[in-house]
């Protein structure tokens, strides 16, 4: 009896969170699944149309273009960001005077709000007055149309996405500090070089952290929205930077096709889940759990 009462009290204390999750997460998620099978323009009642939205998506050239852009950006930015974050973490894992300050300085950029960042990058990549082209011109390199050429625009987006590697870097840093010192000492006794120690000790030991960050990176890059939305309105030039989240937003709030946008959201969710599962599967072979069986 007393246990039941305690359960009730516990649930009551947790009720604000439970209510919040229910109202603001579970209800919208379930609703969007339902809406994805309907034609729904927000102010009129949804009309059940079965799998029509999903069938239309499979033939929608704009969606397929946006999906391919998203996957290209994901495929390029995740490995690059991972490599950069690991390199920075390795550098910041050394014992030097003022290392805390360096760690802070390298982490700070990831705190800058995306919209402010986008405006800043617009100026850096400006074709005529941009800092980057100005620097390149010193080496005799002709101005690059970073923002106005379809192939460069995508590359620009990928480069900028690496700016936010600070979060991953901090997690790698924590992982690096968990690597037992004795392993390095053993390696040194065997005459291992710095690269051999990194390859054979550090990377395997932090592989669970790498796997976690890669999965988070995949999820994050598939949801990319604010940066291209601000920097490349409408996915210009020629929809080369049009990503799924932008098309989803346009359908939901500009074209008032909430049902179609919901279906798109679920396809994106499935793509994210599949890629995450693939990463986990690959991880089974390559990830080393120090304390595992």
């Amino acid at each position: 009896m007393r246990s039941n009462r305690q359960n009730v009290i516990g649930l009551l204390f947790a009720s604000p969170w439970i209510l919040g999750m229910g109202i603001f997460l579970f209800y919208p998620v379930i609703s969007s699944l339902y809406f994805s099978f309907t034609s729904y323009s927000i102010l009129k009642p949804p009309v059940w149309i079965g799998l029509s939205n999903y069938q239309e998506l499979m033939h929608d050239e704009i969606f397929l273009k946006a999906l391919s852009n998203t996957l290209i950006i994901c495929a390029a930015s995740v490995p690059l960001t991972t490599a950069l974050a690991i390199c920075l973490a390795l550098l910041l894992n050394t014992k030097r005077k003022g290392i805390s300050l360096y760690r802070t300085l390298f982490y700070i950029p990831s705190l800058v709000p995306t919209v402010a960042l986008a405006v800043l990058w617009l100026w850096i990549f400006n074709g005529q007055y941009g800092l980057l082209n100005e620097g390149l011109s010193k080496f005799g390199i002709k101005a690059v149309p970073w923002l106005t050429d379809p192939s460069w625009a995508k590359a620009t987006l990928i480069m900028i996405s690496m700016w936010g590697c600070g979060n991953a870097m901090v997690i790698y840093l924590a992982g690096l500090q968990d690597v037992p010192q004795s392993l390095y000492e053993a390696g040194e006794l065997d005459g291992a070089s710095a690269w051999q120690k990194t390859k054979s000790i550090t990377l395997p030991m932090i592989s669970p952290v790498i796997q976690f960050n890669v999965i988070m990176g995949i999820i994050g890059s598939l949801q990319t929205f604010a940066l291209p939305f601000v920097m490349f309105p409408g996915g210009q030039p020629a929809r080369s930077t049009y990503v799924v989240a932008m098309y989803l937003y346009d359908n939901a709030f500009l074209y008032q096709r909430m049902g179609y946008a919901s279906a798109m959201g679920w396809v994106l969710f499935l793509a994210t889940m599949i890629l995450s599962l693939v990463s986990l599967r690959l991880g089974d072979r390559h990830v080393h759990y120090g304390g595992g069986a």
Binding site: R5, V8, I9, L12, F13, S15, S39, S41, I42, L43, K44, V47, E56, E61, I62, N126, G127, Q128, Y129, G130, A143, P145, W146, L147, T148, D149, P150, G234, Q236, P237, A238, R239, D250, F253, L254, Y255, Q256, R257, G259
Partner: protein, 436 residues
């Protein structure tokens, strides 16, 4: 422990009461007047101009208090609030959104309220009234409108073109003018471009310069003869400057409302825009010697002269607004000539009314206001496409123009592709939104 359960319940009850109290406080006016909630997109000087009208209305009577709230993303928020049953009493939408909102059943029909208040079609410039109407009914009323003309920087054009009288009237004359106005450095780098069709206001209506534009016989037609002619002409500027040079040159253009605007920074000799642009000249380049002219028309087609892009800021009453009648009293107040002219003068726009006072035309801060007024009244004044898929048309045509300029597709192929997509989108819209 026995006291914990009542304590938790008390806390939850307290939170619930506080929320209830908060929501009930919103609807109680401090002045015991009926409070009309007005959501508007404007900030800065434009907001101040409308606030003066709101204050004037609030001071003019004792029953209604209009509360102005500046809201970003006005269309999305109005739609979602309407869907949730708590819309504002008045929302300031752009004119090109009215039809879509009507299709979504989001707006109150104002026809009868307007008739009772003496707000009639005859008082307005036809193109602006048409923007406020859909399917023969009235759903919005105008605030500040715009019509488009070509601003010319006198200091950047050859002397023979440096007056409204001698400026090119036809497309072929304009092409000659463009060739004589472009300036490059010895290496071929573009320094001043005569005109960049993609910069400024009105690009999307370019097919109307050459004919019927996006609609023919009520059907979407973005790949007709006039469309092809228009976009080929637009593309001719990129072809002349070179794709790479055009990209490089345009990438140096700054924000519209900044000193880096290409016209204000002296990179473009001409710029298509509305009457409000003179305000930016005053703010960022007061020394500029400028004049405005109508857009050129195709050779041998003088009947196509007088083209002007049009749009309008509107006031609407969303469906489900709690104080629709009171809200309409404010809308009608704004329509009074002296109030409308005050608003339009403060926002540096032309007036949507068919008759403008002499004082409005002579003391307006834009010295070319008579031209903008005349263009708005022209039979070639082009309001936004009256279809609920206007955003999709803009997106598809924009993509087609991108593709033809980049050389990815020929103009005809790019427009054919856009046409086939838009026909499918329109069919889907008719089926899903209009229930046809």
């Amino acid at each position: 422990m026995n006291n914990v359960l009542p304590a938790v319940l008390c806390v939850l009850l307290g939170i619930a009461c506080a929320c209830g109290l908060e929501s009930s406080q919103v609807s109680v006016s401090k002045t015991d007047r009926i409070e009309v909630q007005y959501w508007e997109k404007w900030t800065g000087e434009e907001m101040e101009a409308m606030k003066r009208i709101v204050d004037k209305f609030n001071a003019s009577q004792s029953e209604i208090h209009v509360k102005y709230l500046s809201v970003s993303g006005i269309a999305d928020k109005t739609l979602l609030a309407t869907s949730g049953g708590t819309p504002p009493d008045i929302a300031g939408l752009w004119g090109d959104q009215v039809v879509q909102f009507v299709d979504l059943n989001a707006l109150t029909d104002l026809s009868d309220l307007a008739k009772d208040a003496g707000v009639v079609e005859e008082n307005y410039i036809p193109a602006y009234w048409s923007i406020c109407s859909a399917y023969g009914r009235l759903y919005a009323l105008p605030t500040s409108p715009g019509s488009g003309a070509l601003y010319v920087n006198r200091q950047l054009v050859p002397p023979q073109y440096a007056s409204p009288e001698t400026f090119p009237k036809t497309i072929s004359e304009f092409n000659k003018f463009a060739e004589q106005t472009d300036r490059r450095d010895p290496s071929g780098k573009l320094l001043v471009a005569s005109f960049m069709p993609r910069d400024g206001w009105g690009l999307w209506n370019m097919p109307y310069v050459f004919g019927d534009g996006f609609l023919q016989d009520g059907q979407i037609n973005v790949n007709g003869k006039d469309d092809l002619e228009a976009w080929t002409w637009v593309k001719s500027f990129t072809d002349r400057y070179g794709v790479t040079e055009t990209k490089s040159f345009r990438s140096g253009f700054g924000n519209y409302s900044s000193p880096q605007n290409p016209f204000l920074s002296g990179k473009l000799a001409t710029y298509a825009d509305g009457p409000w642009f003179s305000n930016y000249i005053r703010m960022f380049k007061p020394s500029m010697d400028w004049f405005a002219v109508p857009f050129p028309y195709p050779d041998n087609h003088p009947e196509l002269a007088g083209f002007s892009t049009m749009n309008l800021n509107t006031l609407v009453i969303p469906k489900g607004a709690k104080h629709a009648r009171e809200a309409f009293r404010f809308l009608a107040f704004v329509q009074e000539q002296k109030n409308m002219e005050q608003l339009c003068m403060d926002q540096q726009c032309n007036s949507p009314l068919s008759n403008s006072s002499q004082k409005f035309l002579t003391s307006h801060p834009n010295k070319a206001i008579a031209l903008f007024d005349k263009l708005a009244k022209s039979s070639r004044a082009v309001p936004p496409v009256p279809l609920g898929i206007r955003a999709q048309i803009g997106s598809e045509v924009g993509n087609a123009v991108d593709q033809m300029e980049l050389g990815e597709l020929t103009p005809q192929a790019a427009l054919d592709q856009a046409q086939s997509r838009l026909v499918a989108m329109w069919a889907k819209y008719q089926q899903q939104v209009l229930g046809k």
